[in-house]
Amino acid sequence: MAGSTLVNDGQQHSVAELEDLAFELRSKLLYLCGTYEGAVHIGGDLSVADILTALYHYGMNVDPNNIANPGRDRFILSKGHAAVCMYIAMAMRGFFEFDDIVNTYGQLDSAFGMHPCKVQLAGVEASTGSLGHGLPIGVGMAKSARQRNESHRVFVLMGDGETGEGSVWEGAMAARSSELGNLVAIIDRNRQLMTSHAEERVALEPYPEKWAAFGWNVIMADGHDMASLVASLDGLPPASSDRPTVIICETIKGKGVDFMERNLAWHAGSLGQEDLAKAMASLESTRASKGSK
């Protein structure tokens, strides 16, 4: 198995430490993609690897030793196909062992499958997979927190392609109408759908303006620059404020592996041993020439 499992002690990490954790997360993703015989949504996993690292190791208050703590921040992986990336981020945060994922992923009766299920895996906040469902669920959770005077936040991670679903915008209106400043949407703006580059099929632009027009507070971030992600999380308005916030993270599908980046062939797939070595080498060289994004 690639690398050791770092169990986070709940302290906030420096940007450099977070970068190391994101590298470890990507290494583990590639390892799983190279050893699991079925397809892994590796492109969209790699585009959110930095975001999930920043959330689980910096921005979110979660406690793997007290999973149901009412004061925890809630995280909904609305782009449920990035489940593997979330599982690994959670393992690195101490929710379970990485080997638990590697040894059972996708197998009969495993808690770890292609799309996350709350019933099957403790620590998952909502069962997701069908796109466009996470934001309305997040609105319900944030409303509940408000009514109970709880001060935690609800984070919902969506793909930009996912926001083609009308229910996302229904949710966006509901969040603004209910003045849910405790709700944070994060967009993985990798500009790719499964079979096309986004703007070829769907006119998402002007994208930040769309969210602003729905009354949301908009923060732009570089989704592969840990300092930018940390600054975005630091810059969130208080949970008690009256506007929901969206952090639009510019990302690259397949980030970190040269032959996967922006390559429509790598929405999902499986790496053989040979390609795994090539992918790892590419990841290493990306790290060596750090600063190139």
């Binding site: 069962s127 469902h133 309305p136 669920i137 609105v139 319900g140 509940s144 209106m173 509901a174």
Partner: protein
Amino acid sequence: MPVTFTFGEWFSARTIIGQTLADLGDEYPNLWTVTPDIGMTLVEFREKFPDRFIDVGLAEQVAVGVAAGLAYEGNIPVVSGMLPFLSMRTVEQIRSDVCYPNLPVKIIGTHGGLVGNGGSTHYAVEDLSLMCSLTNMTVTSIGDPLMVGDILRQSMKMAGPIYIRLGVGKSDQAIYEPGTHDIKIGKGIVAREGSDVTLFAHGTTVAQALEAADALEKDGHSVRVIDMFTLKPIDADLIEKCAKETGGRFVVVEDHLAYGGLASRIADVVVDRGINLTAFKRLGIPQVFAGFGNDEELRDKHGYGLSATIDAVKAVIGAKA
């Protein structure tokens, strides 16, 4: 809520829902109501518990999604709306956000069947078929307006979701004198005893079935009427018992597609349990878009009104064993 009972008296189910929820809101501090702009029944609840009422506007999908989010946090959300939209536009949210994690979301609404004269966009006629197919979902269809309160109250104790279907819900005939029948989710109600034939109904056709039974009694026929208000889980034991006690003669009348609703649920039990029937006749909406007309006219036009029911029962009684 105290009720003075007169059989056949007309009540508004919507009023009873509103009063029941307002009462339950005191009892259950985690009870919420959510509506996509159909909040007329919820005025009392909204005024009493403004912080537990959400009107999302015309957005059924988000109404169900929000309810799921509330339920994940330990709340009991009741989503109230018009069923043609609440059962179809949101079917995936109901399936994947509510049924998959088995959340205690209660979905209640009006316009089940050819009621309200809104045209085919506004009739929920496939809803029971859709809802019965969902894992973890309990499915009910209520005729007696006074019963709605009982069902809502019982549903508060359920760990999973429930679907509660009403007709128009503005003015419905009271059927059961409160306290005289054992009303339990999952158990059919013997609305009328009889030994020649069993006439099954749910929702708005229960009153019609009773009227048919009264008319047939004058001709010397003894018709048992079962209010099978829970379609899922279906009361299979009662079906088997009725087959034995009424000569294996069944008629089903329902304000839903004739295939996919109660008749189909009963047929499943008959096949699965190997029950021997003498005759089986189903009355319901054929595979057509029904058009305009009042409730009674539409039932007659489509062959499941009062006279069609009487004819069907006679035919089944006359069938050779």
